[in-house]
């Protein structure tokens, strides 16, 4: 499998407090990797650095063979992002939002927008302002924006947070189908362990800025003598750092 993202010895501190401490991992094409950890573990910091909106203190981010520090603009053209806490401008319509972002990603082909509007069932909201959409519809819009440039790497920061279980399930299915169909590499942060078990091919547990364990979300709990991923998560979150792995 082709390595899409390579994070090497990444470190970041805020006012002397380590948010990330020499973490290294990879994401491959056609793979969904869950980035898990308690609040403040460093998940969003990691994603922000990969997106180029936060500078690391040390370490390297290599996307598709290119160093982020040297090829930021080129890399940002090939990756995309969605977070539940970062909705698209509410005073623009669904179509206007997608059109503006398609221009920002250097796309001129409007058929891509039409296709995404259909795929994400947004046809009847085409001319509705994004701020008037329900949370689930806004999520679909945000995801449509994230798929605009057919990214080789998709970064999802708690994409289903604040969605009801049935819509969350539908969104998960949508993302998984889309990613697998197009061979995207996906880095997915979540606090919902059932979601992670359902969607992710591999998980990485972060705690206090360090990677504790990494592996298949379906087999990891057994390896640690736990019944499921949620139990393992709680167990790991309570562990002092040096007893992780």
């Amino acid at each position: 499998m082709k390595e899409i993202l390579s994070v090497k010895n990444l470190s970041k501190s805020y006012n002397g407090i380590k948010a990330l401490d020499e973490i290294s991992f990879s994401v491959y094409a056609n793979e969904i990797v869950g980035l898990l950890g308690p609040n403040g573990a460093g998940k969003t910091t990691t994603i922000s650095i990969i997106l180029g909106i936060l500078k690391q203190d040390r370490g390297e981010i290599i996307v598709n063979g290119m160093d982020l520090r040297r090829y930021r603009a080129k890399i940002l053209k090939r990756i995309n992002f969605f977070a539940s806490y970062s909705p698209l401008p509410g005073n623009l319509t669904v179509y206007e939002n997608l059109y503006i972002f398609s221009l920002l990603y250097g796309l001129r082909d409007e058929s891509i927008i039409e296709d995404l509007i259909k795929r994400f069932s947004l046809q009847k909201f085409r001319n509705t302002k994004a701020g008037l959409l329900s949370t689930g519809e806004q999520t679909r819009l945000g995801l449509a924006k994230a798929m605009l440039n057919s990214p080789i790497l998709l970064l999802l920061d708690e994409p289903t947070a604040s969605l009801d279980p049935s819509i969350a399930k539908e969104i998960r299915k949508l993302i998984r189908n889309f990613a697998k169909e197009r061979g995207y590499g996906v880095l997915w942060t979540s606090h919902n362990m059932h979601e992670v078990e359902e969607v992710c091919d591999r998980v990485i547990f972060l705690s206090q800025g360090r990677i504790l364990i990494e592996g298949d979300p379906r087999s990891l709990p057994k390896e640690y003598g736990k019944n499921n991923l949620e139990e393992l998560f709680i167990f790991l979150a309570k562990q002092p750092l040096n007893s992780g792995g």
């Binding site: 936060l54 080129k74 992002f81 698209l88 401008p89 005073n91 319509t93 503006i100 972002f101």
Partner: protein, 267 residues
């Protein structure tokens, strides 16, 4: 430089404008109020003076130029604030747009909207108060260029302030033109100001423009030296504030304040 990115920012402003009737009304309402207020005042002054002096050309012209400067500065600032209010920074700066392209998009949209509003103002002033704007001559264009550059540079400074201190700092931005107005001598010569105020006037490009405007109206002559000083100063501020913005943006990238940008992060 990707022109599609710049076009995206301009188009966003256009979409916002057409999406809400109130935005269009506000574009014309204050212009009309300004023109009517100052137009009637100049008409009254001409009446007292029994037509001995052309107050319309002197005062109403100055109002038009000052309003153009305000619009350019606020245009850049408002475009930026739209993204602040929409919490759009994360989506925007995660896209391949550079800060340079973003800035050019904001300046371009501000210039388009500002010029359009300026033309409307000139039209109303000509129609209602018989201001013959082109009687100033071709010199109005370099005047407008200097005000455009200075307005843009203050817009950029405003962006840097808000990026550094958070959205709440917008309250530091709104009064900037009002604070500058006594120093730049829109309606009176700078020479009547106290010395300390004159010193500040000398470092403001707009004061050279309003001094020049008065020379054009009163003496029918153009001071190219004033124009040169005004232009050079405006250019200096533009470059200086661009550097300030760039450094501030990099500071935000280091501290992570761009990712946590909200009304609470004023420091």
């Amino acid at each position: 430089m990707n022109f599609l990115h710049i076009w995206a920012i301009i188009l966003r402003q256009f979409y916002l404008l057409r999406s809400n009737f109130v935005r269009i009304v506000s574009l014309f309402l204050w212009i009309t109020v300004d023109i009517l207020l100052w137009g009637f005042l100049t008409r009254y002054l001409s009446y007292i003076d029994k037509g001995g002096f052309d107050f319309v050309k002197l005062l109403l012209g100055a109002v038009l130029f000052w309003d153009f400067f305000n619009r350019i500065m606020y245009g850049v600032t408002m475009g930026f604030l739209e993204d602040v209010w929409a919490r759009n920074f994360l989506n925007l700066f995660c896209s391949p747009i550079t800060i340079k392209e973003y800035l050019l998009g904001l300046v371009s949209s501000s210039l388009i909207i500002g010029s359009f509003a300026f033309l409307i103002m000139v039209f109303i002033a000509c129609l209602v108060f018989k201001l013959s704007f082109f009687s100033y001559g071709m010199i109005i264009f370099p005047f407008l260029v200097v005000l455009l550059i200075f307005g843009t540079s203050l817009g950029i400074l405003s962006m840097a302030i808000m990026l550094r201190f958070g959205p709440s700092a917008e309250w530091l931005i709104w009064p900037i033109p009002a604070i500058l107005s006594p120093f730049v001598g829109i309606f009176y010569p700078v020479s009547i100001l106290p010395n300390w105020m004159q010193f500040i006037s000398k470092i403001l490009p707009a004061s050279y423009i309003f001094e020049s405007l008065r020379k054009v109206v009163l003496l029918d002559s153009v001071s190219y030296l004033d124009l040169f000083f005004g232009f050079s100063l405006a250019l200096f501020y533009l470059i200086f504030f661009c550097i300030v913005l760039y450094l501030t943006y990099n500071h935000c990238l280091r501290t992570g304040s761009l990712t946590r940008y909200s009304a609470e992060n004023i420091v």
